[in-house]
Symmetry: C2
Subunit: 217 residues, 2 copies
């Protein structure tokens, strides 16, 4: 048992050291980086594409797409005109700083203001691995249900902004916003929150204005 714990500690500290190197590389290039985490199917990729659209040229954006398999998301990003790199983790349930370090080398950092890293769809594992980004953002999603902060507290604790996506589905599902917000507030008081529908575009301007302030402010 003690041996297992010491192995995990070693992995974590190597990851943290590499995450720091990623941060230095990003800062030297003047690039603000965001780690976007969410359940599978919360709408990460569409949210990123609609962020590019709502930015309307105010920031130059690149993306790193993390998936177990496929390059579906990177194809979408490139089709939208963004520099994009795909990471396939094989079976791994999260990105780590090594994978991101390799991906950053494949992006034209000097031509970018912001890099969005789309983590593997998962509310557990990604919360434990620093990537070197400036902020962590979680995308919650209305059809996922209002009890997720209570059930996945770790990921809600470690974020600097929360997006609540698919608010267009509120009329069709059981979702008590008060109960959800109370759970978030216990774990991460005062967390900045953006209710949006990436599909309809509702709320995207509030998010994008905040993002521009973070990057340029």
């Amino acid at each position: 048992m003690r041996e297992k714990i010491s192995i995990i500690e070693n992995i974590m500290s190597a990851n943290d050291r590499l995450a720091e190197e990623n941060r230095i590389l990003l800062d030297q290039a003047g690039v603000f980086a965001i780690n976007i985490m969410a359940s599978p199917g919360a709408g990460k990729t569409m949210f990123i594409l609609k962020t590019l659209e709502a930015l309307d040229g105010r920031l130059r954006m690149g993306v790193i797409e993390g998936d177990i398999a496929t390059s579906i998301d990177t194809e979408k990003a490139i089709a939208a005109g963004m520099p994009a790199v795909q990471i396939n983790t094989g079976g791994d349930c999260h990105l780590d700083a090594v994978m991101v370090s390799n991906a950053l080398k494949a992006l034209p950092l000097n031509e970018l203001d912001v890099v969005i890293i789309e983590n593997v769809g998962n509310l557990v594992c990604p919360a434990s691995f620093a990537l070197g980004t400036h902020i962590n953002v979680l995308i919650a999603s209305i059809p996922e249900g209002d009890d997720k902060p209570y059930k996945y507290p770790g990921i809600y604790r470690g974020i600097q902004a929360l997006v609540i996506n698919k608010i267009d589905l509120l009329p069709y599902v059981q979702f008590k916003m008060d109960y959800f917000s109370e759970g978030v507030n216990i774990l991460n008081p005062g967390l900045v929150t953006f209710p949006v529908s990436a599909m309809t575009g509702e709320g995207m301007h509030n998010w994008v204005n905040w993002l521009v302030n973070q990057v340029k402010g």
Copy 2:
């Protein structure tokens, strides 16, 4: 690198051995066990509660609820009149055979026909850990999107039945059933599939009739 691989092998074989013991325990008690896996918020708990309702007494059912934290789901199951045990994994992203072994001891197996084990909401990690159940069932969900078989192939390969939940939301989201089904068929040809809405009850009788046949047939 070689050391890391050998450690993983040891963990897996210990888990597999315990999974076998769980299976023997279940068979001796004449209990059919189902491992239900899904993303967070795909509707596992509601699906289980509606399964109990649709069974209408044809099978005596108990549940084991797996979550990172809280006992919300177990409280719902007990309120519905089922014997239920909660497993809190702490930070672990999946159940394993040890946790299930302990939980089985807390259930009145001799009074049950079927035990449903609700795994942690996650499309990656649970696929790698046998629990000793007779079948693995995945609940996909319409608002998750139609690309999930392509992105999370491992979990689609290892299941004996697929539930497609929240079909009542089909009119409100972009979901191409042909594209989804094609992906499933590549990974798991001929997989038995149940499109349902646990909320409205649509399709639940097909699933429940199939389940009764599995258990008693």
